[in-house]
């Protein structure tokens, strides 16, 4: 890859030869190298078997490297990273790991995904916790003396707005960020964000396999969490599982044994992004997304208020149905999605996106 060359970066993703693939917010495009790494690992398992000391060591080594790679993109230490299967896993880990008392309050926003809201619904039903919903853009103002946790998106999946993390941090209440539209899309530095917990997806902006993800737990918060989903890997002493304390670091919260194929694939995807330079990836995607928003507005479409992110949501032209509009755009080779119940179309713009694709999308969106 020629670093800093958009065409060279773009050529890593074969799907872009066929489609204007603008849906990394659901699942990212796959780099060729990631598919190759996954298939090579499968071949090795096929011919070499999946047991023995060397095999177990390869699993551990891949998991360790993946933990390090996620730590780099999150801006934390590897010991603060748990390997999960999804953002939802991370949210469940935190909400099930904290100890609750009836009457505790969790504050969340009006632009949250079911991956946050479904676990909050469980907390409300089973633990008697109060869930209060406030507008995404004024969340910090809604924190009060009863708020034990703020659980909200880093970047809204609905609008692409970015949460005011500094204002939340200044409240002193611990914050759990849903980073499904954050990590890999926009710069993430969990220290600067001041959050206690950050749950991210591997298959979206990090272009990894389905069923991958990472959870950041600030080192000083780890002991506040019990291990909600224990297994062999979460124990300090697997030979005495009933009595054993937890394993070291956030690895105790890993969601099952990290499969070797998943690790190899996720690592290869991350390597493509890191080779291009994460700063460049973030900057280019944000600029392109801004360009798309401008182009849509210039054509008279109403773009939902957004932040410096990679998501652009707008109302279909002339009151069209959002799902029909998504299907119509798909016919033209433009892959976007609707946001159910909001009547919006959402495009996910990556550093792999070309300006030409955006022009085509804006024209098609207005051409109804």
């Amino acid at each position: 890859m020629l670093v800093g060359d958009p065409d060279s970066f773009r050529s890593e993703f074969p799907v872009l030869e066929r489609l204007a693939y603008l849906n990394a917010g659901t699942e990212g495009p796959l780099p060729r190298r990631a598919a190759q790494a996954a298939s090579e690992r499968i071949e090795a398992e096929l011919h070499g078997g999946r047991a023995g000391r060397a095999y177990a060591e390869s699993i551990r080594e891949l998991a360790g490297r993946l933990r390090e790679a996620y730590a780099r993109v999150l801006g934390c230490e590897p010991v603060e990273v748990a390997l999960t299967g999804s953002t939802t896993d991370g949210v469940n880990t935190v909400l099930s790991g904290l100890r609750w008392s009836a009457g505790d309050q969790v504050l969340t926003s009006d632009e949250e995904h079911p991956g946050v809201l479904a676990p909050l619904g469980r907390l409300r039903r089973l633990e008697g916790v109060t869930v209060r919903v406030a507008p995404f853009e004024r969340l910090a103002d809604a924190v009060d003396g009863r708020t034990r946790l703020v659980a909200c998106s880093h970047v809204s999946w609905v609008s692409g707005r970015v949460v005011d993390a500094a204002a939340l941090a200044s409240t002193g209440v611990p914050v759990l960020l849903d980073g499904a539209q954050g990590v890999g899309a926009v710069p993430v530095d969990v220290r600067a964000l001041g959050c206690a917990f950050y749950a991210g997806s591997g298959q979206k902006w990090l272009c990894g396999p389905e069923g991958s993800g990472a959870l950041f737990v600030a080192a000083e918060r780890l002991e506040e969490l019990s291990v909600p989903w224990p297994g062999y890997g979460s124990l300090a002493d697997p030979s005495d599982p009933l009595e054993s304390g937890p394993a070291q670091g956030a690895a105790r919260l890993d969601h099952g044994f990290p499969p070797g194929v998943r690790s190899a694939w996720a690592l290869a995807s991350l390597a493509v992004l890191e080779e291009a330079g994460l700063d460049w990836v973030h900057e280019r995607a944000a600029s392109l997304a801004e360009r798309l928003a401008r182009q849509l507005e210039e054509r008279g479409l109403r773009v939902a208020p957004r932040g410096r992110s990679t998501l652009v949501s707008w109302e279909p032209a002339r009151g069209a149905d959002a799902d029909e509009e998504v299907a119509r755009l798909r016919e033209a080779g433009l892959v976007v999605r609707s946001i159910p119940s909001r009547g919006l179309i959402r495009a996910s713009v990556g550093a792999w996106t070309s300006p030409e694709e955006l022009g085509r999308l804006a024209a098609a969106a207005a051409a109804r």
Copy 2:
């Protein structure tokens, strides 16, 4: 494949060309067709992208077929199957989904895996549940009026003994079976076993991918479980996640969205076993395992008391260290494992195993 022909079945598993692979109890050998199915799915994702209605439909369709396939091997309805990432996931789902009161008692055995004991340890610490341990072979006798659940292995990972499920069922206390060494290895009919819950692994005797598994929840027990790890897929109405009730059937307990690659791989592995005939697979593996046990005993080795299963555990000759013995056998191309803290060597015998391999293993094990 020539059905009923051992050599033809064996030739589906390339690792057997290089190794006497006798460790399906950790992870099974991979069939060539499974690796191919996984790689083909990855190629489709690479070139076609991973979004849109048709893609989402393909994920659902694969998951539905996998649920049906697991239901066939478990002897239940698809609506009673949750797709998990491991046996441990299934155990955690049941133990976290049931509602506990301090003083409730769970009965377990003295031959359980950390995948059962680690979740039980959590229950004891956080819910004040009493965990009582009784000998595996006399578990039903230990049930008393305070026992709310029996959680134990179908087949002991230590010895290969098979639990007396009929005796357990006759106590009337609900039973959660850890089927890690059961499903795919020995005949499983969850109705005949009379269990309420059965947690199995996909990557062991079913030769599927790491991070796969299934949980059976008897239809009449489903409402006793809350959804302990909710997400988009567990909701009846994802548009109202805070208020929504659970989705239909055991799918509400699925562990995350079922990844397409995982489903395609698991299905292809199951197809190889079903094509050979599960009855034949079970019968041949059990006969071969019995033969190995006999050969070891004939050579003066002490085989741990076992049942009609696919595991054979024995004490290393002349007091040797079990891990050193495993390493020595590995040098001879014989892949077995030790059982930590019991000082045993364990061989996993499959329908894919050849009599010649067993003769070689028995000779090598005695030849120290």
